[in-house]
Amino acid sequence: MIQFIQIVFFLLTLIGVGVIVSTKNVIHSVYALALVLVSLAGIYVLLNAELLAIVQILLYAGGVVILLVFGVMMTRRGSGETLISESKNSILALIISLAIFLLLVYLFSNAEVEAVNISSIDQVKEIGVSFLTDHIVAFELIAFVLLVALVGAAYLAKMSSNE
């Protein structure tokens, strides 16, 4: 049963990546990215990373994808025009990405991943406690980075619509 669920999520991810790589329509690639992100959240659940899966759905699939669609909407030349993008240097890009993929596969073939059974820990509580004790500096810095990014993005977007 677990193997069946694993195979389903793997297949969904591969189909999504296949659509992104092969399509020329920008908005279809953003929809396929949403599919990839949600199926990755499913894979995180299979890896016993519950909080990460929920954060992935909330922020990535519910935030970044919407931002990208708004970006596509505001950079079209006219209404009713499907945004097509050609690709240059496909053969060179294919060679480079295949080389990197084979290198990584060779590196990973020697890795030993052991399965850890951690389903008895209350993960949300543990991660929350570790945010405020072990990783508190990173936590505060990220809050600051979020504030700066929010103010900066709002100001930049306002500048572009003011004239």
């Binding site: 279809h28 929920i54 759905i57 519910g62 708004f70």
Partner: protein, 333 residues
């Protein structure tokens, strides 16, 4: 699995009754009678509407994007219905066993924005695009006060699991409800209710589908049964947010009758079937309040809507978060 099957059947039956109830509520508020022809006092009106909708022609314009156009209503319905999986039914039948149940619910509800975007974009129609952009902006802006007000409850109860929240409110009936045990949760309840109205695109926030301005908003180009799926998801979202509000603030499946002296009213009205009855009864009262608000208040303009969320509800919910933290610290001491 049991909760999923139960909630699916209940949702379908609920929509049939809720459409009729809404038309009758609208009629009585507007001092007229409503549907009276089909069946005694118009009870079979929704069934007649369903039959009409199923046999309508599935119009599909030539210039639409085929696959996203067909998938959009299904994505909206799936996102709304997947949220039902973490809800408990009574003290024995809990939802799915996720530690962060409430968090998962909020995350999955935010996925229905994808379906609305796909519907508006694939329709290739100015009005659909405007409607869907407005709806997306509204839903995304009101997720923040909703999440923060739910977080106020989580601070006070200390758990994200909805079944544990219901267990913490059992005991002596009305007195043990969260909103009466911790009176600091009254304002978060109002924030949750208003944000919930905005999440399901109901008046006074129904600008995306306003019939008088945008024809139909993002479901202009949908006819027949696909439009029916959009309406089903809207009622489903209303029911989902009412059930979550009941569990968080009003005691979930606990009975509201207290034990007075030797009359063990609380014991007499608890159990498996009583628990389900109390949960659904309280949520249906909340749904009725939502319908009542729809036909009483006028619609908000787009800039009023956004300023309400960002300038009033979000600072207020951050302030309530602070006050709930102080309340919890005072309780611990």
């Amino acid at each position: 699995m049991l909760t999923l099957a139960f909630y699916l059947l209940f949702l379908l039956a609920f929509v049939v009754v809720a459409v009729y109830a809404e038309r009758k509520t609208a009629a009585f508020i507007q001092n007229r009678l409503g549907p009276m022809e089909v069946g005694p006092k118009g009870i079979l009106q929704t069934i007649a509407d369903l039959l009409k909708m199923i046999q309508k022609e599935d119009i599909r314009a030539n210039a639409v994007d085929k696959l996203p156009f067909l998938l959009a209503p299904i994505i909206v319905f799936l996102a709304v219905f997947a949220g039902f999986s973490v809800l408990p039914l009574n003290s024995e039948v809990a939802g799915s066993d996720v530690t962060g149940g409430l968090f998962l619910l909020l995350a999955i509800i935010s996925l229905d924005v994808l379906g609305i975007l796909m519907a508006g974009w694939a329709s290739n129609n100015k009005y659909s695009l405007f409607g869907s952009m407005r709806s997306v902006a509204q839903i995304v802006s009101y997720e923040i006060p909703m999440g923060l007000s739910v977080l106020c409850v989580v601070i006070v109860t200390g758990t994200l699991d909805l079944q544990k929240t219901s267990f913490l409110q059992s005991g002596n009936g009305l007195i043990n409800w969260n909103i009466i045990q911790h009176p600091v949760l009254i304002i978060p309840f109002f924030i949750f209710f208003i944000a919930g109205l905005a999440e399901s695109n109901r008046t006074p926030f129904d600008l995306p589908e306003s019939e008088s301005e945008l024809i139909g908003g993002y479901h202009t180009e949908y006819s027949g049964f696909r439009w029916g799926i959009f309406m089903l998801s809207e009622y489903g979202m209303m029911l989902l947010l009412s059930i979550v509000g009941t569990i968080l603030f009003f005691g979930g499946w606990n009975s509201p009758l207290p034990n007075i002296g030797s009359f063990n009213l609380y014991e007499m009205t608890s159990g498996a079937i009583w628990g389900t009855f109390w949960l659904l009864f309280k949520s249906i009262i909340l749904v009725f309040i939502q319908m009542w608000v729809r036909w009483t208040l006028p619609r908000l303009r787009v800039d009023q809507l956004m300023s309400l969320s960002w300038k009033y509800l979000t600072p207020l919910s951050i302030l309530m978060l602070f006050i709930c933290g102080i309340w919890k610290l005072w309780l611990i001491n």
